[in-house]
Symmetry: C3
Subunit: 157 residues, 3 copies
């Protein structure tokens, strides 16, 4: 039933090269499937074990840097999904993106930051598979990161 | 199987008029169904595109104002569900309510604020469909809002 | 199909005695099952109605105290699951642990705190049922608690 599954082709067309899938920072795994739902662990803007965007968006980091952090976390999520599934063509829907943004209480531009991840997933999976979304501000995130991304995918049985 | 589905009648009995369903602030949709679960995007205390309760509960806003914000976000969630499903009678269970409250570190009265949304859903869907719940304090929320509500519903297949 | 379900035996072998299951602080229930997924409400480091670890990890509380708070919330989650299911042997997978940690913006040691809950669940359910995980910093949590734990379990139909 991969008739509409063009994600791998889109990745190539867009010239997106996925990073190696991140590995856990503790006693958990990066992806768990239950039924048709694939729950991916909180993705950070990391390369290997190194945090690349550290600080609060709107204080130490600009909105543009926050967006780059969200994009990088998004790529890590795609890498985890591909490693688990073998092919991103098995994704039938992006069910939920949850975006946590380290920020002070004055910050209001959450949608701009979150859109960098959302637009990446739209470009890879297509607008017809666009997700629901939750975006919140966090007091802090693991390793001091600026953004954490939650991903729930619907996948072929 | 709408034998127990009296939500629409209850809405009328309670004199609750739903607002127009909110529309996204970014690259996402307001509701995604996967199997029997309907994931609704983070609902805010907004009317149209305007945030109605801005600031931290316990600092700029009182607990009573925070409760009104939670109720308003709850109404928006019902409006999204009704638009997606056609009728709230198709809801077989409120699975999860997640309530994020913008607050300082001194705030402790989360349950009071969250109950305004929970009690709304209980009054509409009935106590036998009461949800599980997660309530946390956020450093900030989109548009500066005081409350964000996550809703996961179980719906007829 | 409880062939692999050795959680109850492991609990005994480890000498873990579960506390009484917590009861809600508001208009919600502690567990909702939909299909094979059991959604447990946000668990706190409480005994009865009393919060045992209050304050920010890294400020008023040490990382070690935060870990104890996460462990205590984890035990409460097991107590809720056992009360709902009758036996923890019905758990086929720990799908998701979500850990919120009250913290200032300088805090970075989230994985250490969260691991206290994750390792508890691994020791009870086995490494082959290890969860995905989301860990974030919260500005505040209900009752002033240091940690809140979200648990989603996959259970026998």
């Amino acid at each position: 039933m991969s008739v509409n599954g063009k994600a791998e082709q889109r990745l190539r067309d867009l010239g997106i090269e996925l990073p190696p899938a991140p590995t856990p920072f503790g006693a958990y795994v990066e992806a768990v499937q239950s039924g048709n739902l694939l729950f991916i662990s909180g993705m950070l803007p990391t390369a290997g074990k190194e945090a690349k965007y550290v600080g609060r968006v709107g204080v130490e980091l600009s909105v543009a840097e926050g967006s780059k952090a969200a994009y990088m976390a998004g790529l890590n999520g795609l890498a985890v999904a591909k490693e688990y599934l073998g092919s991103l063509d098995k994704v039938t829907r992006v069910v939920r993106l949850g975006v946590s943004i380290t920020s002070s209480s004055e910050f209001k531009e959450h949608p701009k930051v979150a859109d960098a991840a959302s637009e990446l997933y739209e470009s890879v999976f297509g607008k017809e598979k666009t997700s629901s979304r939750i975006v919140v501000g966090s007091s802090s995130l693991p390793l001091g990161c600026a953004v954490l991304l939650e991903v729930i995918l619907e996948v072929e049985a």
